[in-house]
C-alpha cells in the first residue's frame, strides 16, 4: 500500500523489475562497501579514531591532499574558463583538436598520466632540464603534485562552463556595449556573473576529484613522508602493513573532510547567487 502512495500511477510496465535491478546493484556495489567503512568507524569509536588520525604524518598528508587540490583547482578555474571561452567564442585553426583533447584526462588512465608527467619533469626529463636553470624543481616536490592535479581536474571546469558560455544571450552584451561599456567592463559585470554558478560547480567537481587522486600523483610526488606524501598513499601504506584500522581511520577522515568541503562550497555558491541575484 505504501509503495502506491509514494509512486504515482503510470501505464508503463517494468517499474518493479527495473527498480529491483537498480536497488540490488546499488546496494551490493556501492552501499555495502561504504557501509563497511562507516561501520568499521562506528565500531572503533570516535575517540579511538581521533587518536589514530592525530599524528603528524597523517595531518601532513591530509593537509597536503586538500591544499594541493585547492591550488590546482584554482589554477584550473582560471585556465578552464579561458579555454572554454576561446573554444566557444573564437574560430581558429586547431580548435576542434583542442576541444577533443580537453577530455584526454578523462580517457587516459591515471597511471599512464603519472609516469608520463614523471618522465617529463624528472631532473633528466625535457621539462625538468628546461626548468632546472631557473632554479625550479617540479618532480618530487609539492609543485609536481599541483601539475598532476591540474591535468586531472581541467576537463571538469571546461566541460561545466563551456555549455553555459554557448547559451549566453549575445543581446545582453550588445546592450552593455550600446550603453557605452568597454569590453572589459561588460565581461566583468555582465558575462562573469552569468558564468559564476557554472564556475563554482566545475571548481567543486575538480576539487572533489583532485583530493582523492592517486594514480597520476604518486609517480611525480616522490612520496617523502610529511612533505610530498598524499593521504590516499598513506592509506595504501597502512593497508600494505595490514593495519586495517589505521587505514579505515584515514579513509573516514578523508570522507568527512571532503563532505565538509563540498558543503562549504555549496554554501558559498548559494550566498553568491543571492548576492549577484541569479537563479
Amino acid at each position: 500500500m505504501r509503495a502506491k502512495i509514494l509512486r504515482s500511477p503510470s501505464p508503463l510496465p517494468g517499474f518493479g523489475v527495473s527498480f529491483a535491478i537498480m536497488m540490488t546493484a546499488l546496494s551490493f556495489v556501492v552501499l555495502l562497501p561504504i557501509g563497511a567503512l562507516l561501520g568499521r568507524g562506528f565500531m572503533t569509536g570516535p575517540a579511538e579514531l581521533w587518536d589514530m588520525v592525530n599524528s603528524r604524518r597523517i595531518w601532513a598528508a591530509l593537509m597536503l591532499s586538500f591544499r594541493a587540490a585547492l591550488i590546482a583547482s584554482l589554477i584550473n578555474l582560471f585556465f578552464g574558463l579561458m579555454l572554454a571561452w576561446v573554444l566557444v567564442r573564437y574560430r581558429f585553426w586547431g580548435r576542434r583538436v583542442i576541444d577533443a583533447a580537453v577530455d584526454l584526462p578523462f580517457a587516459l588512465p591515471t597511471a599512464v598520466a603519472g609516469i608520463a608527467l614523471s618522465a617529463l619533469y624528472a631532473p633528466n626529463g625535457i621539462f625538468g632540464q628546461a626548468l632546472a636553470p631557473l632554479g625550479l624543481q617540479v618532480a618530487y616536490t609539492e609543485v609536481g603534485i599541483w601539475v598532476a592535479l591540474i591535468f586531472i581536474g581541467l576537463p571538469f571546469v571546461v566541460r561545466t562552463v563551456q555549455p553555459v558560455i554557448g547559451e549566453l544571450e549575445p543581446d545582453l552584451e550588445e546592450v552593455s556595449a550600446t550603453l557605452g561599456a568597454r569590453r572589459a567592463y561588460t565581461l566583468r559585470r555582465v558575462v562573469l556573473p552569468a558564468l559564476t554558478p557554472a564556475l563554482f560547480s566545475g571548481f567543486a567537481l575538480a576539487l572533489a576529484r583532485s583530493v582523492g587522486e592517486y594514480g597520476s600523483v604518486i609517480f611525480i610526488a616522490g612520496n617523502i613522508p610529511n612533505v610530498t606524501e598524499i593521504a590516499p598513499l598513506l592509506i595504501v601504506i597502512r593497508l600494505e602493513e595490514y593495519n586495517y584500522d589505521a587505514a579505515a581511520a584515514i579513509g573516514i577522515a578523508m570522507l568527512i573532510l571532503s563532505f565538509a568541503m563540498l558543503l562549504g562550497i555549496n554554501a558559498i555558491q548559494i550566498w553568491s547567487r543571492r548576492r549577484i541575484g541569479l537563479v
Binding site: L6, S8, S10, L12, P13, G14, S18, F19, I21, M22, L26, V29, L32, P33, A36, L37, R40, L83, V86, L87, V88, R89, Y90, R91, F92, G94, I98, A100, V102, D103, P105, L108, P109, A111, V112, I115, A119, L120, G125, V147, F151, R159, P163, P170, E174, A177, R183, A208, G212, E213, Y214, G215, F219, P232, L233, Y242, A247, A248, M254, L255
Partner: protein, 287 residues
C-alpha cells in the same frame, strides 16, 4: 573558418584583436604543455629503444597476462553496468516516485569517493580481517586479491557512467511514445526494444564508451584490491606501475602506449558521437 573571427557575436561584443590573439595563444600553449606533452612522452619513451624493444616488451608473459586480465574485467564490468544503468534510467526517468533526487545522489556517489578509499572499503568488507572474509576463505572463495575483487572495484568506480548519461536524455524524451506503443498493443518488452532503445542508443553508446575507458584504466581501486600479483591479478595499469618501479622504462611505457592509444580511440569515437548526434546526448547539452 576564417581566422580569428568571433563565432556568433559582432564587433562591438568581441574582445580587441590583440586580446584575442593572446587568449588563443595562451590556451594553445597551456594545452600543449599540460595535455599534449604528457601524451607525446608516452610514445617517445616507449620507442626510446626502437620498435623492436617496444614490441618485445609487449610480448612479455606478464604484460600479456595483464592485458588478458584488463580485457576480461572490462568484458564483464561494462555490460553489467550498462544493464544497471538502463534499469536505473528506466525506473528514474519513466516513473514518478518520491526520493528520486536522493537516489540519483547515491548513484553519483562513486564519483566523489577516492578510488583508494573505494579499494579500502572492499578490503574492509571482504578482506581477511572481516568476518565475511574469514567465512569466504573457509569456503575457499577469494574476493580480495582475486578476480571478483577487481571486478567489484571496477564496478564501483564505473557505476554512474551509463545511468548519468541516460537519465537526462530519457527524462527529456518523456513517455508519450512508449504510451502510444502500449496503446497500440505492443508488449512492454517490445515497447522497450523498438521504441525506447532506438531513441537512446547513441546516449547509451556514449555512456558505455566512457564506462569502458575508465574500466580499462582504473588504477587506485584495483591496485589495492588486486594485490598486484604478476601473471595472476595484475591489470594493465597496475603492470605499468610495476614495470616502472623496476626501472623497466620501455616495458612500462610500451604498455602505457597501448592504453594511451585506447584513450585516443575513445576520444575519437566520443568526438564523432558528439558531432553527429549531439542532440541525442546529455553530455553535450545544457540542462
Amino acid at each position: 573558418m576564417s581566422d580569428f573571427t568571433p563565432a556568433q557575436t559582432g564587433r562591438a561584443t568581441a574582445e580587441p584583436r590583440p586580446v584575442r590573439y593572446l587568449l588563443i595563444g595562451g590556451t594553445t600553449v597551456f594545452v600543449a604543455l599540460f595535455l599534449f606533452a604528457p601524451l607525446l612522452t608516452v610514445f617517445t619513451e616507449a620507442l626510446a629503444d626502437g620498435w623492436r624493444s617496444a614490441l618485445a616488451a609487449l610480448s612479455l608473459p606478464d604484460a600479456r597476462a595483464a592485458a588478458r586480465m584488463t580485457l576480461s574485467i572490462a568484458a564483464i564490468a561494462v555490460p553489467l553496468n550498462a544493464i544497471f544503468g538502463l534499469a536505473a534510467a528506466w525506473a528514474i526517468a519513466k516513473f514518478d516516485f518520491s526520493g528520486k533526487a536522493f537516489l540519483i545522489t547515491l548513484i553519483d556517489l562513486p564519483f566523489s569517493v577516492s578510488p583508494v578509499v573505494a579499494g579500502l572499503m572492499l578490503v574492509l568488507l571482504f578482506g581477511a580481517n572481516s568476518s565475511l572474509g574469514v567465512w569466504l576463505m573457509a569456503n575457499d572463495m577469494r574476493v580480495v586479491f582475486a578476480f571478483p575483487g577487481i571486478l567489484l572495484a571496477t564496478l564501483f568506480v564505473t557505476f554512474p557512467f551509463v545511468a548519468r548519461e541516460l537519465i537526462p536524455v530519457m527524462i527529456e524524451q518523456g513517455r508519450t511514445e512508449e504510451e502510444a506503443a502500449l496503446t497500440l498493443g505492443a508488449s512492454g518488452w517490445r515497447t522497450f526494444l523498438t521504441v525506447t532503445l532506438p531513441n537512446i542508443r547513441w546516449a547509451l553508446l556514449y555512456g558505455v564508451l566512457l564506462c569502458n575507458a575508465r574500466a580499462m584504466g582504473e588504477f587506485g581501486a584495483v591496485a589495492i584490491v588486486s594485490g598486484k600479483i604478476r601473471g595472476k591479478t595484475a591489470t594493465m595499469p597496475t603492470m605499468v606501475e610495476m614495470f616502472y618501479n623496476e626501472y623497466l622504462s620501455v616495458a612500462a611505457f610500451s604498455l602505457a602506449a597501448v592504453l594511451a592509444m585506447l584513450a585516443l580511440l575513445t576520444l575519437l569515437l566520443k568526438t564523432l558521437l558528439e558531432w553527429r548526434h549531439a542532440d541525442l546526448l546529455a553530455a553535450t547539452r545544457l540542462h
